[in-house]
Symmetry: C2
DNA sequence: CGATCCATTGATTCTTATCAAAATAGGTGG
DNA sequence: CCACCTATTTTGATAAGAATCAATGGATCG
């Protein structure tokens, strides 16, 4: 077994995120390291899960981005939300559940099996909090679509991504790598790609953000948060 | 203990709905009857639960409608979804969880304590399916807001309500009682009340539905379902 | 009877979609 | 390294959808 310590916690987004949700004990970290040695990958555009499909085991995203989508009859898809490193795919502690939505890899995605909750109460709690946050993000998405205009929707979503990535140490000072195209953003926000483009330019010209070469920088996250009335999602206590 | 039988199952929306989700055994029905004798009520406009509040016990809605809402800083609310008779409020089997959204009574609401999952595996399964359906309805709401125009949103939501009410025997042949105002509908659909009104009139004139005195009739649910591309939510198997 | 809530109507403005096309970037193979 | 191909971003012109503002009519309730 690999040696454990502060450095290994700090360097892996998966462990870092789960540890931020609930302080992990040695058993949990050991189990995670164990699984992190047996990763498998899914190529960009491939499905991790298909709506209605039986879920044989719960997985953890180690690297890369994926999207929960709803497939619609006319061929277009709707992006429900985004799945990031350190996030669960499937239902911890549940055998033979059915997927309620399709999950597609946006980039190449590295996965591992999620260690069973039984290895550590702390890990079980981290899973529970993770799931509660997922639900909170769904509510956030509904609020976004129902209440905000195009400009606010974009900034609100970017802010959410920033906050979510920060937990895994994948974003700092308003800056992160975004593998989404403007078209995907449009799909997630119920807008057309053309309009997303215009709103992004407008925000750029207002000096609120920059987005080039897959790098996003929010110049003043707090100001954006104030503007769109976004409440920061708490992680100190479980939401359910 | 009261005598149990087909008639008592058929006549109570709570038991009827849970029984439709998963065939209940005598233990479950007895426990439910037991709790149904100790109901308590919440007046219209009062809160059943406030966002962030600790949930002491899981409840069942016996009669009346409520709404999950997100309170926003500017005083306006967003309706996330609607809670109907036979639905759970809170998290079965979880002590000390925190509410992820505020639940407000739309009409006077009659509640009872949800019997513990441990009284019957069938009841536990019915709860699990109920929760899975709740998540599916959140996904449906996101799809609605992101993909449909005003006319379709309204009809899609009414269709969802019809299907959900049918499970509790509270709707038949496209007809049900709706305690929502057009303003609430607008809040749930991300539209203005004025626009909802116009779209309803348009639908009425097209002979697609009628809505008078709190009674809604969808004249051809199947046609609407085809038009808005709505997939009927399955209940025969758990979605998670 | 006034007060209040809800549904309805009209006129106008603003936001966003739609259609079409050009420019740019990124990747691949020669 | 260049030429080519494809995906993505950007631009422009126009139309449709929904919001906004303002006001009226109908119920219902104390």
């Amino acid at each position: 077994m690999k040696p454990l310590g502060a450095r290994s916690i700090a360097h892996d987004p998966v462990i870092r995120r789960l540890n931020a949700l609930c302080a992990l004990d040695d058993q949990a970290i050991a189990a995670l390291h164990d699984e992190l040695n047996r990763t498998f990958s899914v190529r960009s555009r491939q499905e991790l899960l298909h709506e209605g499909q039986e879920i044989l085991r719960c997985m953890l995203v180690v690297r890369g981005w994926a999207a929960r989508t709803r497939c619609v009859e006319d061929g277009r898809r709707r992006i429900i939300n985004v799945v990031l490193p350190g996030y669960l795919v499937g239902y911890p502690g549940l055998k033979r559940g059915l997927a309620s939505s399709t999950v597609v890899a946006i980039t190449d995605v590295l996965l591992c099996t999620a260690p069973d909750s039984s290895v550590s109460p702390a890990l079980a709690k981290a899973y529970a909090i993770s799931r509660a946050l997922d639900e909170a993000h769904l509510l956030g998405q509904i609020t976004r679509l129902g209440r905000l205009n195009a400009q606010e929707r974009i900034q609100d979503l970017l802010l959410e991504l920033l906050e979510r990535l920060e937990l895994g140490g994948l974003a700092r000072e308003g800056r992160f790598t975004i593998p989404l195209t403007q078209e995907m953003l449009a799909d997630a926000l119920g807008l057309t790609p053309v309009h997303v483009n215009r709103m992004l330019q407008q925000a750029r010209q207002a000096g609120e953000l920059s987005w080039h070469g897959g790098q996003v920088v929010l110049h003043d996250p707090k100001a954006i948060r104030r503007k769109v009335g976004r409440l920061k999602v708490r992680v100190s206590r479980p939401l359910i």
